[in-house]
Amino acid sequence: MGNDATTAEREQVDAQIEALFASHPPADTPEKEFWGAQFDHGLAWVQHPEGFGGLGVSPRWQAEVDQRINEAGGSTRNRYMNVLGIGMGAGTIMAHGSEEHQQRFLRPMFAMEEIWCQLFSEPGAGSDLAALATTAKQEGDTWIVNGQKVWTTLGHLAKWGLLVTRTDPDVPKHAGLTYFIVDMEERGVDVRPLYQITGEAEFNEVYFTDTPIPDDMRLGEVGGGWSVAMTTLMNERVAIGGNASPRGTGAIAGAVEAWQKMHGEDGDAGLRDQLLSHWVEAEAMRLTAVRAKEAAVKGTPGPEGSTAKLQWADLNKAITSFTIDLLGPEGMTYPGGYEFTRPEQTANRDAGPHKSFLRARANSIEGGTSEVMKNILGERVLGLPGEPRVDKNIPWREVPRS
């Protein structure tokens, strides 16, 4: 991108920020009202076209927009409190939805008037998402859905769900999928908490029993659900791994705190070197996110998003575990005990070292296991050949499953 274009974009973004701040002072406007106005000024997803929450500029300006809002006393917490919508759903709807979908869903999503959830994984379809078995059968203009989904973050709060179903079991598995937006308040939708190793139920299981979905809530073609789902997942992996937060924040902050509390004075040199190894890797990863953001020129993330997701997951696990070790005997405790609660937002941002340690175990599983991430990087970035596939060219019905 040449310098002139960059300058023009900066001016455009600055002008909108100033206009937004003038009409809706961030510190003094109710959150939802502010986010609505932010959308209207094209500052929700700057890379979206005008009228769809964006300005049609490079996505790298978004970080600056959000920073300015925060500095002015406004909130950007909608981004993680409605992360399945704002972080993943929006990109999917822009890429695959009709203009009606875009007009109907994006603004209430961004303003947190409607919460979104994602209905992909099933007990028998984890890494192998395309093996999913939840069916949708067409009856006139309506689809009737039956099946079970798992790992549904925010399922109990959501108004809308991003749903992938099997509409044709007689073709190879990737070809028989169709993607819908489902109304979570529709009949036959049963959301149950799924308790996890922290004692919390951050996720849900969702059961569908003869749940109807109008055909106009379909994203993409019938049988074209796989590529729509891929768009969502690529956005998810970027959302999980790729944030360029300030130096020293995140898991490493917990480790540094534990170090200073337990070992500040006479810290063992071996532990210090381990701490620094983690610090170094966290900082190198952070710099990579900064670099990726600078290099980003288009809106749809590619397989590179898997790099950050993979590295972040393994590092977060390692650092939170090391932090428990730093705590020594206190590492054997679980302060407050296991309470079987259902938190109201996705990641509890100040969970303390013990809960963070347990929660991190899922990092290398959720949003694509580290094993799957490595396959993607190996095949789609490095160009290595895939494995011999026994499930690709036969009808889904005939593929072995567990």
């Binding site: 984890g126 499930d391 567990s402």
Partner: protein, 381 residues
């Protein structure tokens, strides 16, 4: 030391037929009595103490396995007890064997007079006494003085202070309290319900191994509650035995997570294939297999040295076993979660119970790094 079971000759690694029978017996017993459902019920509703299971272990003579026959025990060695601990570790059985049959029993065998042993040990064998060893300060620091101080008072002593991280502290019938006196370290044998004792359960990571903070406020004890022998030696022997039996317990846990994960990898199908056919899964399990064999060797070796009273070799064998088995268990149980995928992140699946046991037992009695430092000193490195 009279009541310590006589040193066994150094045993080979290969189990005798009797030892194999013991393995089978304990495995059968726990198979029914320490099911996942039962363990979960005990950890959530009974403070992590399974009275019914423990009664069975007592009946089979396992609680007093290393207690001499004259005191009602089985007169067996730590080699046999190591077999029991491996099986306990496989089932995460929530019973006070580590606190009572290892820490408490050994402390008394090494540090108490003959009369005291005769008075206190039969209760272990018959199940009426369950010990907890209170020897750490409230922060659990290994290198600090105990958190309890004992002042001479009339014919006896008055105990004040707080002990932290007392294993099975809340459910024990008796406490063995390490305290600082004007004459140095001493260990006292107390009724856990004595006046002035407050026991508060700690919120623990691993609910299958409960711990308590125990506070002593002007607790009066008679003179003969003080163990008559060398308190430091008793404490050291108890903790050495604890470290070694813990390593054997870890070996059981390692074996169990390896077996369960291998079985899952054979059955779970993704992409039309059992996931165990993928190298990413297969190689991780192969690495765990290799490490598990070495962990077993290290733990067995230490248990046999313990049984044979090879004190010098134990200075190497015990920290070797504890550091190595802890690291292997942590990794194996973490891998087990990863290889099971999402299902292992749920509360209902057992993977987290092993993972938490692995992490907590890694930090119990000192971290692997701590034990490697002990080893470095012995090896003069």
């Amino acid at each position: 030391m009279s009541a310590l079971t006589a040193p066994a000759p150094i045993q080979p690694f290969v189990l005798t037929d009797e030892q194999k029978a013991l393995t089978e017996m304990v495995r059968d017993l726990l198979g029914d009595a320490a099911s996942s459902e039962r363990v979960r019920e005990v950890m959530l509703e009974h403070g992590g103490f399974d009275q019914a299971l423990y009664d069975q272990l007592v009946q089979y003579g396992l609680a007093g396995l290393t207690i001499s026959e004259e005191h009602g025990g089985a007169g067996a060695s730590f080699t046999e007890l190591s077999i029991v601990f491996e099986e306990l570790g496989r089932r995460l059985a929530p019973v006070p064997m580590l606190s009572t049959s290892v820490l408490g029993t050994t402390a008394i065998q090494v540090g108490a007079t003959s009369e005291q042993q005769a008075a206190w040990l039969p209760g272990v064998a018959d199940g009426s006494s369950r010990f907890a060893l209170a020897h750490l300060d409230p922060a659990g620091r290994l290198d600090a003085d105990p958190g309890v101080r004992a002042m001479a008072s009339g014919d006896g002593f008055t105990l004040d202070g707080t002990a932290g991280y007392v294993i099975d502290g809340a459910s024990a019938t008796h406490l063995l309290v390490a305290a600082t006196t004007d004459d140095g370290l001493a260990i006292f044998h107390l009724d856990a319900e004595a006046a002035g004792i407050e026991r508060r359960a700690i919120d623990v990571l691993d609910l299958t191994r409960p711990m308590a903070t125990v506070t002593f406020s002007g607790v009066e004890v008679a003179a003969d509650a003080k163990l008559g022998g060398n308190a430091s030696a008793a404490l050291h022997a108890a903790l050495t035995a604890g470290v070694v039996m813990l390593a054997c317990e870890q070996v059981g846990g390692i074996q169990e997570v390896l077996s369960r994960t291998t079985a899952y990898a054979r059955e779970r199908v993704q992409f039309g294939r059992a996931i165990g056919s993928f190298q990413a899964v297969k190689h991780k399990l192969a690495e765990t297999l290799v490490a598990s064999e070495s962990a077993r060797s290290a733990a067995y070796h230490a248990a046999r040295m313990l049984a044979a009273h090879e004190i010098e070799e134990l200075r190497i064998a015990a920290p070797l076993a504890k550091s190595y088995c802890s690291d292997v268990y942590e990794k194996a149980s973490a891998d087990a979660i990863q290889l099971h995928g999402g299902i292992a992140f749920t509360w209902e699946h057992d993977a987290h119970l092993f993972f938490k046991r692995a992490k907590a037992s890694k930090l119990l009695f000192g971290s692997p790094k701590h034990h490697r430092a002990l080893l470095a000193d012995v090896l003069e490195l």
